[in-house]
Amino acid sequence: MRTVTYAQAINEAQEIALTRDPSVFVIGEGVPDAKGIFGTTIGLAQKFPGRVMDMPVAENGMTGICVGAAISGMRPIMVHARMDFTLMSFDAIVNTAAKWYFMFGQKQSVPLVIRMVVGRGWGPGPQHSQSLQALFAHIPGLKVVMPAVPADAKGLLLSAIGDNNPVIFIEHRWLHALTGDVPKGYYEVPIGNARVAKAGRDVTIVAASYMTIEAMRAAEALLQEGIAAEVVDLRSIRPLDRNTIVKSVQKTHRLIVADTGWKSFGIGAEIVAMVAEAGVHFAMPPVRIALPDMPTPTSPALAGSYYPTGIDILRSALVLCGRKQTVVARIVKEYAAAITEVPGFSPDQPDPTFTGPF
């Protein structure tokens, strides 16, 4: 084990896949360039000439081309620096890739990985910031994963590459610089398994992607109040690990879902509905923490109130666990003060070293 960044973990997974399987190739706008998609593809083009490549700014056609390659012996990894750009290829993903196996009577499958980055930084604004996991997870035929920590990024990406179905692999921009222990060599983290990131008995926080980081911070603060939160890091959105979630809420009877996407019709809605359908008794009404139902505004003055944080999770958890209003207010205030005291803290910068523009 050694500590590497989330971006390096992704880079390593691709390097291993390219090494062990000659049918793997990596393609996307900017993939071989010096910045290498936030560091996730740096060096690969040099190591694997002809198999790690740029592409025309033609997301729709290129996705269809990758579907063709995938049904005829290749295992393409497509990369998009922003999830928003993949909307240009929604037809190829939803009508073609997701349905090919089904609509021809299971004759050919589509082993295709599409990596997408959720933008967040300096005013990416309405068209460079969308977190559309719910949109993709709605489609039968697609698998959707959103690792939160480096070890899962590597293991899930290797799983996705080996999977014989189209897999949407979603990376939040604020995770790339995050470090963590990552095993060396080849290993898979199975798609469809959530991870109990922290065990607890009082309240369940189900989190997706970057919100897992915020949830862990909130869970830490809750401990001081004697509340043991269980943090379930989803890892896979579809298929959803119903068992792990249901088992946790059966224990805590309190549920918070924290997502990086919009609230309405989102991941939170699916999870709350699924737990309710399972007949689990809620001691308190469940809470969804997500983006307000509004496109992302650009002004830095609006970033703070737009993006939910650990503060929102903390507040909800305290309320669900029956703490009085005055206690809630005090703890939330202390927590907020502690975060904003961190040098370089800003709601539109992932870390102090970030100097824009992306």
Binding site: A34, G125, T298, F358
Partner: protein, 318 residues
């Protein structure tokens, strides 16, 4: 000709000085939005917009400052938008990549590559259906013609003989990827003639040549002869996004230096006396200082995150 030369030069100088001021101020981290500067490419905005009337509409991309200014967009509102202020042209909600000025008929710039091309065609379509005068102009980069929707839009424009001018600013790069790694070796203009419209390639560093070509196109488009396509060969002096130059790792040796010798401003500047240029600069500097101080003094927007009226228009057709 002297009068139009002066107009073109002044407009280019103004765009250049605005972009330079943004580049100077950007490292202060007050303009917190991705910002794509057009230094090196000013002749195209100036040349094309000089051939337009107020009633003509313009659309653009992520790299839109020059087009917005040349069409008459408010400088104050643009700078305020970059600062994310409530007085910005998109109320601070859009930032540099989402400029608009309805008074100037600059109907919108958006950063999804090629996304505004069909919208421009749609405005041209409505103008013909409503029998309203004016043409639509859409600026876009060389990468935009790689997107399918660019061609879907061009085909329809030719089919319906719509009053639209497509202006492709071919600076040979999409972010840092050279055009030879993205497109077959042939003039982009050939794609447009393949669709059945008149197309021409011009030296995009020569604002006079751009103006002359644009004028010719605008003339026949106004006469109902259908769309036209102007490919302008140009070069971006700064990095794709942000205030610095691309490092030597990203460009072939000598390329930038070669193109800097072909700077549209110095090429045309020879026509004017030093004193004349100085007084233009003085006037523009004053305007820029005013715009930045307006932007800095302006309040930030305050948005209620539950306010649906920002997302959906409330009133109904009466």
């Amino acid at each position: 000709m002297i009068k139009i030369d002066k107009k073109l030069f002044y407009e280019m100088l103004r765009i250049r000085m605005v972009e330079e001021a943004i580049a100077r101020e950007y490292p202060k981290q007050e303009m917190r939005c991705p910002t794509h500067l057009c230094i090196g490419q000013e002749a195209i905005a100036a040349g094309v917009c000089a051939a337009l009337k107020k009633e003509d509409v313009v659309f653009s991309t992520h790299r839109s400052h020059g087009h917005y200014l040349a069409k008459g967009g408010s400088l104050r509102a643009m700078i305020a938008e970059l600062y994310g202020k409530a007085t910005g042209c998109s109320e601070g909600i859009g930032g540099s990549m989402h400029l608009i000025d309805l008074d100037a008929n600059f109907l919108g710039a958006a950063p999804i590559v090629a996304s505004t091309i069909p919208v421009a065609v749609g405005v041209a379509f409505s103008r013909t259906m409503l029998k309203k005068p004016g043409i639509a102009v859409c600026f876009f980069g060389d990468a935009a013609v790689e997107e399918g929707i660019a061609h879907e839009a061009m085909n329809f424009a030719v089919l319906r003989k719509l009053p639209v001018l497509f202006v492709c600013e071919n600076n040979m790069y999409s972010t840092v990827t050279n055009i030879l790694d993205r497109q077959a070796r042939r003039p982009i203009a050939n794609l447009a003639s393949g669709h059945g419209m008149t197309a021409q390639t011009v030296d995009g560093q020569d604002s006079g040549a751009v103006y002359t070509a644009a004028n010719k196109f605008v003339g026949f488009i106004r006469n109902g002869k259908g769309p036209g396509f102007l490919e302008c060969l140009t070069y971006r002096f700064l990095e794709h996004c942000g205030p610095h130059e691309d490092g030597p790792a990203l460009r072939p040796a000598g390329e930038l230096a070669r193109w800097k010798k072909n700077d549209p401003l110095s090429r045309m500047g020879r026509l004017f006396k030093g004193k004349e240029i100085d007084s233009m600069k003085e006037k523009i500097s004053k305007e820029i200082r005013d715009a930045f101080s307006f932007a800095r003094k302006s309040p930030f927007p305050s948005v209620n995150r539950e306010d649906e009226r920002l997302v959906y228009k409330e009133d109904h057709q009466s």
